[in-house]
Amino acid sequence: MTASHGRGLLHLAAALDQQEVYDAAPYEEAARLAERGGLDFVTLGDTFARPGPDALAVLSRVAPATRRIGLVPTVTTTHTEPFQVQAAVATLDWVSRGRAGWRIDVSTTEGEARLFGRRHAAAADALWQEAGEVADAAARLWDSWEDGAEIRDVPSGRFVDRDMLHPVDFEGADFSVKGPSTVPRPPQGHPVRVVDATEGSARQVAARHADVALVRVAGPAQAAAVRAELRSTAQEFGRDPDTLRVLGSLAVDLGGGEHAAEPGHGGGGPRQTAQGPLYRGGPVDLAELIAAWHQAGAVDGFHLTPIEPLRDLERLVNGTVALLQHRGLFRTFYPGSTLREHLGLARPANRYAVTGGTS
C-alpha cells in the first residue's frame, strides 16, 4: 500500500450508448450535455457481437461539435489490425485536439470470429494477453515519432528528421509490427487507455497499461479492494500507482427523479444485477453515493451508464452533477483542454527520445 492512497479530485464519466441509433444528432446532443456538466469523458461501446455503429467514427463525428470533453470509444483488439487501431485512435486525438481515449476490449465469441473467418474464438485469458500486447505496441507506435520530428526545413528540403522516427519492431505472441507509425505523435503523447478491470483476465492488462480502470462492483468495500489490488499490481509493473484512475462503473436509472432510492437497493446503494451493478433512485441520492465512495477512498470517480440515455443523462448532469458542484466536490469548468489534463495525468515522456546525451 502506498502512502498516496488518499482521495484526489473526483472524476466523472458517462456512457453515450443508445440502442439502434445510427445518425449523429442524438450522440452529439448527449455529448454536449455531458460536456455542460464538466464530465471528464464520455464512452461509446462497440462490439461485433451485436448491432451498433463504429464507435470511433461516431465520437470522431462528435469531436468538432464539442470543445473540452474526452471521447473514449471502445475499439476491440481481437480481429482488428493493431497498426490500424493505433492510427485511428491517434487520429481521433488529432481531430479532437487531445481529447481521445481508447477503451480496450476483446471479442470472445465464435460468432464474432465467423465475421472475420481468420481464427476461431479463444479463451478470454489468451485474448486479454493479446490485448495487452496491442496496447503495448500502440504506445510504442505513438512514441515512434518524437515530438517535433516534423522539421519542414526548407533549405535542406527535409520535411522530417528521420533520426527522430523509430521503428518499434514489436514482436507479440500472435502479431508483430515494424513501425514507425504513419501518424505523428498525437497531442496527448498517448491517448488515454481505459480498461474494464472487473474480470480477472482483464485486470493485469488494466494494471499494466490502463490510465483509467473501470470496476463494476456494487459496494464501496469491494471497490476499495479492487482499487488497492490494481494499484499494487501497477506498482509491481513499475508504475506509479497514482497514474492509474479507478472508476466505479454503474448503470443508473434516475427515472423516479424526486423519489429516494427504492428499498432493497442497499440503503440507496446499487444492486447487483445480471447486467452489472445498477443504481436506481434519485439524482440527489446518487450524488450522496458518489461523494461517500469517493471520500472513503474507494474510487477515484464514477463511470455511469444511463439506462434511459437522454433522460438519465439529463438528470445526472442537471441534478447529481449540479449538486456535487454546489458542494465543491466537482469541477464547474475545465481548467485544461486535454483529457489527460482533466484526469490529472501527465503527458507521457517519449521512450525513444534521446535526452541529455544519454540513450
Binding site: P51, A63, A88, D161, R162
Partner: protein, 452 residues
C-alpha cells in the same frame, strides 16, 4: 428550338499531391498536414465550390528510399475515415471519400466503418479501394506475417472480393431495417453472421478505384462507381475513357453508371505568361536540389549523393539486378498527381538514357532535367482558359470531371473555387447548387437496387 444540355463536369478535391508537395506544406501558412483545421478549411472550400467529394489518401507505412525513411516529402497522415467522420460535422453536402486498403484489412470491418460514415453523414460516404504494393507494408500487419504478401493478381482478386463482400453485407439488412444473416464463401473470405449496421442511406457507399492495368480497367468496369484516372493528355484520356466505358456493357451497366475522373493540378494567372511563370516557380519549389538527386537515385538505384544537382547527369548506367537499391520498377514514381510523374513505366536503363538525351539536347542540369522531364501542372493559364480546357476534356470524352490537387496544399483550392467555378457555371457545364443531399446524387449515379 430546344437547347441540348451541356455535359456536366464533376469535381473532387484531394489535399495531398504526390512527391514534391512537401514544398507546399513546408512553405504555406498551414504548418500542419495532420491537424484538423486545414482539413476543415479545405472541406468547406470544396463545398463552397459545390464539389462532388473530398478524397483522403491513406498510408500504411512511411516511404523508404534506399533502406531509410524518405525525409524529403510530406510524411505522416491521419487515418481517413476518422477525419472524414469529423468533417461530416462541419459540412452538409460534400461527399466524403476514404481511401482504405483491401490487402491488409478485412471486409467486415471496412464495411462497418464505411456504413457508419454513410449514416453519420446522411449518405455522403465513399470508399476508395486501394491495394498495397509494397512488401514492407506487410511488416505492419497480421496478414503480412501470417499469410505472406499476395502477388498483384491476388491483390486485385482480394480487392474485388472485398467490394463484393461489403456490398453483400450492406444488402443484408432489408431497406426497412431488418437484419438478416449473411454468408459469404469465396476464394479470399469465408465469413458468416449478422452485419452490425443497417443498410446505409446510399444503399451502398460509392466505390472508387484507381489504376490503369487491364485488370484495373476490368475491375473498374465491373464494380466501381468512380475511377481515378491518371491520364493527362486528351488523347490518352479519350483512349482510356472509351476503353473503360466500352467494358461496362458486359456487366450489364450503362456508360453513365461509372464516372471517370483524372487527377489534375492547375495554376492560374491573370495572363497566360503569368500562369506559366507561376507554374515554373512552383516546380522549382517542389523539385528542390535534394529531391532532384533523390528522383535520380530512384531511377539509377544507387547512391548519387556526391553529384551536384546543378551539374550534369551521371554517365554511369543505372544499377539493375540484385545490387539495385530501391524499387525494382518505377511505378511509385508515376502517381496521377505526382510532380515526379508521369515518367512512364520504362525500365531504368531506357529511362536514364532518355533523360541524358534530354539533358544534352537542352543543356540542362540534373535539377533542370528532373523539372523538365517529370510531370507538369495539368492546366495552366487564365481562369478563362482553364475553364475552357476543362470543359473541352469532358465534352470530347476524355473524362467526366477531375480530382483537383491544389497548390499550395490545401489552401490553393480557394482560388479555383473563386475564379474558375463561376466560369464553368456561366458555360452551363457545372451545377449552381447541390440538387441532392447524397454523394450518389451529386455524381448522378443510380441508387443500388436492394438484392434481398
Amino acid at each position: 428550338m430546344t437547347v441540348r444540355p451541356r455535359k456536366q463536369l464533376h469535381l473532387a478535391a484531394l489535399p495531398y499531391a504526390g512527391e514534391g508537395s512537401g514544398a507546399d506544406w513546408a512553405g504555406s501558412r498551414v504548418r500542419s498536414q495532420i491537424e484538423f483545421a486545414p482539413f476543415e478549411r479545405l472541406a468547406r472550400t470544396a463545398e463552397r465550390g459545390l464539389f462532388d467529394f473530398l478524397l483522403l489518401a491513406d498510408e500504411l507505412r512511411l516511404r523508404e528510399h534506399r533502406g531509410r525513411i524518405h525525409d524529403l516529402d510530406v510524411a505522416g497522415r491521419p487515418e481517413p475515415v476518422t477525419v472524414l467522420a469529423a468533417l461530416a460535422a462541419v459540412t452538409e453536402r460534400i461527399g466524403l471519400a476514404a481511401t482504405a486498403d483491401a490487402t491488409f484489412n478485412e471486409p467486415y470491418e471496412l464495411a462497418c466503418r464505411l456504413a457508419t460514415l454513410d449514416h453519420l453523414s446522411g449518405g455522403r460516404a465513399a470508399w476508395n479501394v486501394a491495394t498495397s504494393q509494397d512488401v514492407c507494408t506487410g511488416g505492419n500487419f497480421r496478414r503480412g506475417d501470417s499469410l505472406g504478401v499476395l502477388d498483384r493478381v491476388g491483390r486485385h482478386e482480394r480487392a474485388a472480393e472485398s467490394v463484393e463482400t461489403a456490398r453483400e453485407l450492406w444488402d443484408s439488412w432489408t431497406p426497412d431495417g431488418v437484419a438478416r444473416p449473411f454468408a459469404h464463401r469465396g476464394r479470399h473470405f469465408d465469413i458468416a453472421g449478422e452485419f452490425g449496421v443497417p443498410r446505409p442511406p446510399q444503399g451502398h457507399p460509392v466505390v472508387i478505384q484507381a489504376g490503369d492495368s487491364p485488370a484495373d480497367r476490368e475491375f473498374a468496369a465491373s464494380a466501381a462507381d468512380v475511377v481515378l484516372a491518371r491520364h493527362r493528355t486528351p488523347e490518352a484520356g479519350r483512349e482510356f475513357y472509351a476503353d473503360v466505358k466500352g467494358r461496362l456493357a458486359r456487366y450489364g451497366r450503362a456508360p453513365e453508371d461509372l464516372r471517370i475522373l483524372p487527377g489534375a493540378t492547375f495554376v492560374l494567372g491573370d495572363t497566360a505568361a503569368e500562369a506559366q511563370e507561376r507554374a515554373f516557380e512552383m516546380r522549382r519549389q517542389q523539385i528542390s536540389p535534394q529531391l532532384a538527386l533523390h528522383a535520380l537515385e530512384r531511377i539509377w538505384g544507387t547512391d548519387l549523393s556526391s553529384y551536384d544537382p546543378d551539374g550534369p547527369l551521371p554517365d554511369i548506367d543505372p544499377v539493375t539486378g540484385p545490387e539495385r537499391e530501391g524499387p525494382p520498377d518505377l511505378t511509385d514514381l508515376t502517381g496521377p498527381t505526382s510532380p515526379i510523374g508521369p515518367i512512364g513505366l520504362a525500365d531504368p536503363t531506357a529511362l536514364a538514357e532518355e533523360w541524358r538525351a534530354l539533358s544534352r539536347a537542352k543543356g540542362l542540369s540534373i535539377r533542370g532535367t528532373v523539372i523538365e522531364a517529370s510531370g507538369r501542372q495539368s492546366f495552366i493559364g487564365t481562369p478563362e482558359a482553364v475553364a475552357v480546357e476543362l470543359d473541352e476534356f469532358v465534352r470530347t470524352g476524355a473524362a467526366d470531371g477531375f480530382v483537383l490537387v491544389p497548390h499550395p496544399a490545401p489552401d490553393g483550392l480557394g482560388e479555383f473555387v473563386d475564379r474558375v467555378v463561376p466560369l464553368l457555371q456561366e458555360r452551363g457545364v457545372y451545377r449552381t447548387e447541390y440538387t441532392g443531399t447524397k454523394l450518389r446524387s451529386h455524381l448522378g449515379l443510380p441508387h443500388p437496387v436492394w438484392k434481398g
